[in-house]
């Protein structure tokens, strides 16, 4: 895949080719592709002159460095107790109904992936979620519906 090669090379030029550049490069791939494919991992291994196993071992440690295909918009809902107490289950149900997928799944058009995550740091304004890197807080059914409709139209 020539595009991946270009992307990885560009990221390595930017961040360097040492071991300490590995995570910034993997994060750069996520920012563009939303997940790190096997091909991307092999490419990183070649570019940084390290074993693919090392790249794989590092990537799979971090929950935001997804190694499975993800949609263009990755939604992560906070499942910590404080968000749960403020109605997180209702938000999950709303999202599942809107997107017609369950938590852990990706829509057929590859546009959305729905995931749960641990504390996002918005406990005083729960329930909260991230869409890619943008946080949304004080969610209710109306608000989350509006947000998702905006993304659907994008």
């Amino acid at each position: 895949m020539p595009e991946i090669k270009e992307l990885v090379k560009g990221l390595a030029d930017k961040h360097g080719r040492g071991r300490e550049s590995l995570i910034p490069i993997l994060q750069g791939i996520i920012a563009e592709e939303r997940y790190i494919s096997d091909a991307a991992m092999s490419e990183v291994a070649v570019e940084l002159d390290m074993s693919a196993a090392l790249v794989y071992g590092t990537a799979t440690f971090y929950s935001f460095l997804d190694t499975e295909p993800r949609g263009k918009y990755v939604i992560r809902i906070c499942k910590t107790i404080t968000c749960d107490m403020k109605g997180k289950k209702q938000i999950v149900k709303t999202l599942e109904d809107l997107l017609k997928i369950k938590v852990g799944e990706t829509t057929k058009d590859n546009k959305f992936t729905l995931l749960e995550t641990n504390c996002l740091g918005w406990c005083h304004k729960g329930p909260a979620m991230l869409i890619n890197s943008i946080p949304y807080d004080t969610l209710d059914v109306n608000k989350v519906t509006e947000i998702i409709m905006d993304y659907i139209r994008k």
Binding site: Q27, G57, N118, C123
Partner: protein, 386 residues
């Protein structure tokens, strides 16, 4: 009389001239800075409460040419959100504290390790960072800060795991000793402090040691940011002098029906209503990185405990057996008791397991699971069973 003493220093306005407090601090000698921080009695705000001045002193004593300053902005403890607020509202104070630490210990480079969940903050932080770099250049002080992003792993808040992560590795905690003051990031002597701790060191410079020491109690100097959430009408971030009783806290923040407060997040302690009066919040009582979750009588403490245990099970790095397997077994165990597949006596077995994890786990994650586990099971046994 109000027993909860609110103050407003941490988020106080910047000086008119940019980086003025830092400029003045940099005129002091390394020894002078360190002795002022020691004298202030400041203890780390990340949870463990190690005296900050001593940490700086030990690192300063190391005879390596290359040393580092690391700011821990991983803020993953459930119920904590104050570091995000600090970095949003007063990042200048954090960068200043890091630079002053650099002067004190002889480091030229600092890292701010920011959790992946806060990636959206990066553009604004980079803007302030540019201003910072220009200012220190004007002061003729050679110090650069780089921001390293996390990627969704609570364990990377543990200092040695955080170093591994900066080095581009899996965030697996190291054996201790050696401690960071001797061998931290890239194997070099390193001071690692919480975001709020660095801000506090600048407060000491700005207010002076004597004024700073007037805040709080002899064991817990200064003020502290509390992240208040759960069943409270006024959830948010509050700066309060340390040393109040939990009863005072609940009177101020509760909804009139508080049955328990989880102090210090999932790895902290659950305090039931009957112990509010006798519990002091601070290093002399129950310490906290600032996470305060309130639960009223409509809440199931079983759900709370299960949520915490699942959190630990997911976030355990899996490196050592007591923690990896222990978390799984604790979760299975409380589920089995709840369903009636195991008798209530099984809870005692689970508590023994948690105690074993406390003494045999490699790092603070596995060691602190017993805190919430035992305090919830002890105080709310009937809710675990029925």
């Amino acid at each position: 009389m109000k027993n909860v003493k609110r103050v407003d220093i941490i988020f106080g306005a910047y000086t008119q001239e940019k980086y003025k407090v830092l400029e003045q601090a940099l005129k002091k000698s390394s020894d002078q800075i360190i002795s002022e921080v020691i004298e202030s009695g400041l203890k780390g705000r990340g949870g463990a409460g190690f005296p900050t001045g001593l940490k700086w002193k030990y690192t300063a004593q190391e005879k390596e040419l290359v040393k580092y300053v690391v700011c821990n902005a991983d803020e993953g403890e459930p119920g904590t959100f104050k570091d995000r607020e600090i970095l949003t509202r007063v990042p200048r104070k954090v960068f200043s504290g890091m630079a002053m630490c650099g002067k004190a210990i002889g480091a030229k480079k600092g890292y701010l390790y920011l959790r992946g969940e806060y990636l959206y903050m990066l553009p604004e932080l980079m803007e302030e960072l540019e201003l910072f770099h220009n200012s220190v250049k004007e002061f003729n002080f050679d110090f650069k800060i780089e921001i390293a992003m996390g990627s969704g792993a609570y364990i990377c808040g543990e200092e040695s795991a955080l170093f591994e992560s900066i080095e581009g590795k899996r965030g697996e905690p190291r054996n201790k000793p050696p401690y960071p003051t001797v061998s931290g990031v890239f194997g070099k002597p390193t001071v690692i402090n919480n975001v709020e701790t660095f801000v506090n060191t600048m407060m000491i410079m700005r207010l002076g040691v004597d004024e700073f020491k007037k805040l709080g109690t002899s064991d817990s100097r200064g003020s502290k940011l509390f992240s208040v959430s759960g069943d409270t009408p006024i959830a948010g971030i509050y700066e309060i002098e340390l040393g109040m009783s939990l009863q005072d806290f609940v009177d101020e923040f509760g909804d009139g029906d508080t049955k328990a407060v989880q102090v210090g997040g999932a790895s902290g302690f659950c305090v039931p209503r009957k112990k509010f009066k006798d519990t002091i919040i601070g290093f002399e009582g129950v310490p906290t990185g600032g996470s305060m979750m309130l639960f009223n009588s409509s809440r199931s403490m079983y759900n709370v405990l299960k949520n915490y245990v699942e959190f630990f099970e997911e976030e355990s790095c899996g490196q050592c057996t007591p923690c990896r397997v222990g978390c799984q077994q604790l979760k299975k165990g409380i589920e089995a008791v709840k369903k009636g597949e195991k008798s209530a006596a099984y809870l005692v077995t689970l508590q023994k397991l948690a105690d074993t994890m406390k003494i045999s786990s490699k790092c603070g994650l596995g060691q602190s699971v017993a805190n919430s586990f035992s305090s919830i099971v002890d105080n709310f046994k009937e809710e675990m069973i029925y």
